[in-house]
Symmetry: C4
Subunit: 282 residues, 4 copies
């Protein structure tokens, strides 16, 4: 067994509050954070409504600053309370947290940095940790597993659909021409995908008889094609019988929401005393 | 065994007619009620057609009063013929029945109470009782069971789709801007969901090259995404082999449409002599 | 064993040619008939194109008469060559054949009888007999069996979807009103079904914020709902393992396209000597 | 064992580079070719954008000539380095390669030969060979096998859908007439397929009450119909358990990307010493 340096007590306390949801303080922190995230997303939406923004610009701007400061504090707290800050900073959630914090700072340097505001919505994924419902995590990871298993098939499928779209789009461009809105091959490909996926906006629609006939063929094709990803995913779902994490003998194992203080790996067994990832005592 | 107070004979007779569909009188009552419900729904539709309402306003208004009075009488009869009126009044059907009755009364007090007219359509669900076809009830409860089993997965799925819609909607708002109809982030999110679900009205459609490219990505994504709920439900259907209600040893049990006179629970076994819910003799 | 009256030789010869596809003459008759049916369907289409009809009206009219006479002769031949003409006349194909023949005659008596021309397309279903490919018949009957088995579930499902459409349509009518195209409840229900089924024409689209929010909810709902029929049919397909007609021991049985001269039942085993339906010798 | 004529050394060297992806030179050749194919497809797209083509016509024309010459050289090299050139020339890839090469030559003789440019996109399918990932080939062939197994069912299904479209299209033509855009039966059939496949452009939409009611029925029908191909393909996917190529005892067999120098058959086992197709030593 390896020895680990003891952390200062306030650090381990902070880690417990921020990274775990098992203690009352940790729970409260998570719920407060989630409400703040939802609030920040709604704020971004309100700012985009012209009439509303003109009336309440000062208020919205102040609230945006408050949220940015709270997010900054949270980010710093996360960095100092963990043993390996870079591991967190480079993790999925670490990057999301960082990008959710900086748009307002950046807006003084870079125009168009508001694109990063869209990233904030990713933080809503934290709900799964906050809900502390292993069932939900189990369902989510089951969805994930099924999608992962069918990943290669879906990549092959999408690649073939794209090739097909290029071919059919080029044909429609030649058949229909400018009047019907097929002004270039890329635009025709856009129309082909709109049709194949059965979205069908109608902003571009074939006018000639030959074009409408070809469109009909593409739609019937789309019919068959839409069956393929469904078939892939369904077969995967039917195959995967596991309803959670199982041990070697197939028994269900209960996992909790505790995160390793060393490497922040999650999904430890309830009876675990060491992190399954780095061996650090929990 | 508990003792129950004997009900007056007219009460138990009324209960038989209203709550059960096994006797000729009960059958007749149910069929008459169902025709009345359909008629009331059609009446609401006709009132909404301006030209028709202007011509026949007096007739429609009289018919609406007749239906309201008949529904009121039925509701009172249901209340007095059952032992525990509050249990019925607070049940799903009890609330629906009440809300279907009151809109005309309310219209004298509250404007906009016609919203409640929409509730009437729920009463059409009674058909399953009237049809007295255990097969239909079995099929419906099978559908229900499969949907219930996949509930958590579908909630997780819809939550993730909503987060995705917020992110993609914000991106499209930044990329497209006002000219193409993406006037605010909420409206862009509306467009994103219209596209992801492959509905595609075309009232808002991307105009720029980058916007159309992003739309293409969203559509391909929607392709994969639409496969997920289908996969979930299908896997559930395939898993559930039971074609009705089974006893402990897996044998099929026949249920009838009789309702308990005490608690109005339904789906009793054909050979049942006491309510499975409250123990009242049937 | 029952005795059967011997048919005149020309009658049984005619029966063989018309009802069976095993002899060269029968095959030729079927192929000629199928070409004629396709031609008759194309003729109906051409008549509907104004510019084309104006130019070639006389030609089209003459061709229509030729086809009508040929169809009439075929119908009479079918009636006289079979032992029980009424059984044929009242069968699915018998009614289709009759309705395909009469539109031109009727057009002298009744206006609007051209509706019956649409019926002609049903005759195209004969291809399955002509192809003489038992495999195709097997596949078709497998499709049919799977759809039949899921019939009750689908009826329950469609009924519930219709109730939902009435409720949601009424809500949208109240929320949106006339300006956005929701002029009456029936029209709102039409829009709701257009949205729920993800067709999305865009001829009617919500304008208000509340209406667009409600539309979003309906679309997400439609997402879940579209999974249900797919789940039902898929589960049925997965369950049905049989790839054709099997005997009691589960062995595959080969069927041919011969039709019984007495009752015109089809799908007899290759080694059959009597009709499985009426016992008539084959 | 048959004797084979020894090929000149430069020929077998060329064959190795062009047809195989196991050696560094072969790999490099394939990657270079793939980049060239992508570039050629992008070039066709750019030529179709009017504004861009006008500005850079000379450059695009020169690049098109360079690609045509490189493709021509490759095609000739493929022909001379293989023992049976006609087998390659008449194979799927051989025809694609030829058609991708000739459009520019043809444009001097034939107008409209640019249709062949669409064929180039097919060459993108080569990626599966270049990726050298047996896993991808396995997934692709699994997709192919599932689609092949459900081919007959899908043909039957599409045929029935087409008949239904003709019938429903004719009905809608009679019901709606010219004002709503249903100007002829072929156009009505186009609309019916647009609706049945849930594409729903909205360029043609029913206006009358009866037409909208019929449209509703068609949409509900489309709901059920879209479930069928999905059900077919899913059942096929669930059935096929094999995740690659297996030997007689069900063990997985590893295949490589080497092509036979004699007949260019692919998918040889790693331990193969002779072509499984023609017996030529590898």
């Amino acid at each position: 067994m390896k020895e680990y340096k003891a952390q200062p007590k306030w650090k381990s306390k902070l880690h417990e509050v921020i990274y775990e949801a098992d203690t009352p303080a940790g729970k409260l922190f998570d719920i407060f954070l989630f409400v703040l995230i939802i609030f920040s997303v709604i704020l971004v939406m309100l700012e985009s409504i012209k009439g509303f923004d003109e009336k309440h610009h000062a208020t919205l701007f102040t609230l945006e600053w408050i949220i940015t400061i709270l997010f900054s504090l949270e980010y710093i707290a996360r960095l100092i309370s963990i043993k390996k800050p870079w591991k967190y900073a480079l993790s999925f959630y670490g990057i999301i947290d960082f990008l959710s914090t900086i748009p307002l700072y950046l807006s003084y340097i870079l125009a168009g940095s508001q694109v990063l505001l869209a990233v904030r919505a990713f933080r809503l994924l934290r709900i799964f940790r906050i809900l502390k419902l292993v069932k939900f995590i189990g369902e989510a990871s089951q969805l994930q597993a099924a999608l992962k298993a069918s990943r290669t098939k879906i990549v092959v499928f999408i690649y073939v659909v794209l090739i097909l779209s290029v071919i059919l789009g080029t044909l429609m461009y030649i058949v229909e021409g400018d009047e019907a809105g097929f002004t270039s091959i890329p635009r025709s490909i856009y129309w082909t995908i709109v049709t194949l996926t059965t979205v069908g906006y109608g902003d571009i629609a074939p006018q000639s008889n030959l074009g409408q006939f070809l469109a009909t063929v593409i739609m019937i094709l789309g019919y068959g094609i839409i069956a393929v990803p469904t078939g892939i995913v369904t077969a995967e779902f039917t195959r995967s019988k596991k309803d959670g994490v199982k041990d070697d003998e197939g028994h269900m194992v209960h996992v909790n929401t505790q995160a390793c203080p060393n490497c922040s790996a999650e999904g430890h067994r309830d009876d675990a005393t060491h992190c399954y990832n780095c061996g650090h005592p929990l």
